[in-house]
Amino acid sequence: MTGLRRRATFALSLATGLALLTAGCGGDGDDTAGLPAEENVDEPADAGDDGDDGDEEAPDASTGDDSTVRLGILGQCEGPFGGFHEDVVGGTALAMVNHAGATVNSTTSALDGFSGAEVAGTPIELVGIGCGDDTPDRILQEVRRLVEQLDANVIIGPLSGDEGLAIAEYAKANPELTVLAGISGSQEQTLHVQAPNYFRFYGDGAIWNAGLGDILHNQEGWDTVAVIADDYSFGHTSAGGFIADFCAVGGDVTHRVFPPLGTTDYSSYIAQLPDPDEVDGYFWAVGGTGTQASLEAFVNAKGDLTGDQHAGNLFFNPDLAQALGTDIAGAYIGGFATLPGDVQTPAIEEYLASADDTWETLPGSLSGNEPAPPSVAAAFGFFYGYYTAGVALVEGLAAVDGDISDKDALHAAIGGLTLELPYGDISLDENRSGIVDVGLSQLAVNDDGEIVQETVAIVPGVDQTFGGTFSPDTPSPSRDFPECEERDLPWEGNAIPVVDGVPQQ
């Protein structure tokens, strides 16, 4: 009964199989001795059972040809950060324009890439843009596509924390590859994985709250605080940074509440927080729809949000939370991607102007993916993080004089860089994670009566260990780690105040 169907479908499968076989082979008609598929992409190619037949080049020259940097960028075109795809690609493209003499292929979209980038005689060619969706599985597929199919030898990205961990592991298994993380914020990708070819010229999610504890405890007089954060790695990391900072300077965290992702009604979790007269303040790290819903649940159950009792990470800002009434003026917000958006220095102005010179418009996320002046996107951390990675690639190449055949030398050169960038210098620690300047801001009421975010301090030289709270031997930040311990922070008391957008050096 089913015989006919079976035969037919076999015929079809067979036909497609054969058709694709040709497609899969691509254009290379050279002799392919041995099994190309044996090529061990998960382990060093030289560690194993091959190498005996000495075939010229594997198909598509996937291992050789070190005369060109074939760059792949990992963005996110789907998922919660899908709107930032244009931004992040734009960041790297601008770095190529400003530092490697490239020109962009389109003046209205960054996704069309750039051409003509060259450093010390070595061209940088954009081979592909990976399209993540905020999940590690997807970004692994994308990076494999870029590396194994399109032969990328340098990767810039990814964007989010869990993706970063997966890509760092991938980099570790593929030592020939060079990866410069975008703004991926998980701690472990550098602190624990320690892949020698994985660099992040940027802070992690914990760093962004560095210095907040110093201000709140020593300046505002908070001794006790309750923390509420998303119950997943980014929430844990963000809360962990704040807890490490606040406790290090002598404060105490009395409550930690972690509402699960996907919570719609936060009231049961808000009920677990102490009442306003029981603690000095609250720290918020709830993102997505939860930002609004959790703050509103707080207002419903505990009372209005006031500036002297609340602080938060990047999500705690008036663009994301309507529930923040004008009483919130005075509340502190952790740095976001080290970008104090309202600070104006000559270097920053020059950087923003260069973006406006490069494109006519960019449909970045901040403008709702509608065409807008490129400086809007460039002044935001997502764009900037990919910019720093691009600059690092250019300067690393310059340091080895364009010779990328010796990966160890290239990686050593990149690891030793100190980048002089518009929003502050960035160097790397021994785990190749950025030591950066963190900008802290405060909410204020502007002349129109609207709540806006103003930079009030820049905390220089923040590294990811928080004076030893986090180390390669400690677990990842979690519901109960880090514990609340007093310790010395290198940046305690070093915050540079910012008044009206001007750092008071």
Partner: protein
């Protein structure tokens, strides 16, 4: 013959035992319910909320949370169950309609208030909330009707095919909404008139939540009146009970189906606007609310409005009570209690509390 008869009538003891055995799941559920009630009332020390007898304020607030959230669940699930009841169509696009209505309403409200951020509740008049709600729900209803007319009307009865068609539509709609409305969370602002607080048992409570419950009750009452007091409604109700009969009555079934889909989608849209006011919306909210609607109707029974009420109340109760009354170190596992609820209901009534086999 007497001998055999005696053997047969020796049955009663066996019979009673069998009958009890059969009711065993029901007993287990009853026991679990009683245990949970006793736990909440007396034993729940060391939980975030504390035992109800020692901390009645927390209990009352949790109860209010449960009931008000159940109101939102009901609005979101009623349209789903209505459509299924009459047409046996599992409308997987229900969550998409929910989200679309929310996005549209947010846009309309922003336009009416005249600003897109920092909207204060005091800026929002009742009309600034009601009009966007009706516009959003109508857009969802029209889209629902289009989906029904174009994709579902001609393949009626092919239930799986319809479910997969609406699933595919969901995938497309989610992607297009991401493109159109971006990835950031959006929110409706409650009208200033209801943004107040009152005190109950010494605890502060928000009027907006009670208002939300009021809207839900109003929707429920209107739905009931429509289904029970209008001729069209009675046809639909009869159709839920016996689909063959409606066909036999010589009614224009196509029109009835179209109206039902319109109303069901409208209800999804109302739910979306309420949800956007209550908790905000973002990409992924569609899936969350499809899930919420599914859980409600699986508990309550597909196709039953009564079941939607019961399912909403039960599910809302679990959502509110589990994090508050699980021992503090276990409150992370509140979501698993939802699964336990589902398992218990399915063990006793595989087709839900008020459901019948298809």
């Amino acid at each position: 013959m007497t001998a055999t008869l005696q053997r047969a009538s020796a049955g009663p003891t066996t019979r009673r035992r069998r009958a009890e055995l059969r009711r065993l799941p029901a007993w287990a559920v009853a026991a679990a319910a009683v245990a949970a009630a006793v736990w909440v009332a007396f034993l729940a020390d060391g939980t975030p909320a504390g035992a109800a007898v020692t901390d009645p304020g927390n209990f009352v607030v949790t109860l209010l949370d449960a009931v008000t959230f159940a109101g939102l669940l009901f609005v979101a699930a009623s349209g789903f169950t209505l459509i299924f009841g009459l047409m046996r169509t599992v409308n997987m696009a229900h969550g998409s309609l929910f989200l679309l209505a929310a996005y549209v309403a947010i846009r309309v409200q922003e336009a009416m208030v005249g600003r897109s951020r920092n909207i204060d509740a005091s800026d929002v008049g009742l009309l600034d909330w009601v009009v966007p709600m009706l516009v959003g729900a109508t857009v969802a209803a029209v889209l629902g009707l289009v989906i029904q007319q174009v994709f579902l009307q001609w393949n009626e009865g092919q239930e799986l095919r319809q479910a997969l068609i609406t699933l595919a539509i969901t995938v497309v709609l989610a992607d297009q909404m991401l493109r159109e409305f971006g990835g950031l969370a959006g929110r409706m602002v409650w009208p200033g008139a209801v943004t107040h607080f009152f005190t109950i048992m010494g605890e502060r409570y928000a009027l907006t939540r009670v208002f939300m419950l009021g809207v839900a009750v109003l929707v429920g009452v209107l739905l009931w009146l429509w289904l029970n007091k209008t001729s069209l409604g009675m046809v639909i109700r009869a159709g839920v009970d016996d689909r063959q009969m409606v066909r036999g009555l010589g009614i224009n079934i196509k029109r009835v189906f179209a109206v039902t889909f319109f109303v069901g989608s409208f209800l999804a849209g109302l739910g979306g606007v309420l949800g956007a006011s209550f908790a905000g919306v973002a990409p992924g909210t569609d899936g969350d609310w499809l899930l919420n609607a599914l859980v409600v109707v699986i508990i309550g029974g597909l196709g039953s409005i009564k079941g939607a009420v019961a399912g909403s109340l039960l599910y809302g109760t679990v959502v509110a009570f589990a994090p508050a009354y699980l021992p503090s170190q276990y409150s992370f596992y509140a979501i698993i209690v939802t699964f336990a609820l589902l398992a218990m209901v399915l063990a006793v009534r595989p087709y839900g509390l008020f459901g019948r086999p298809a």
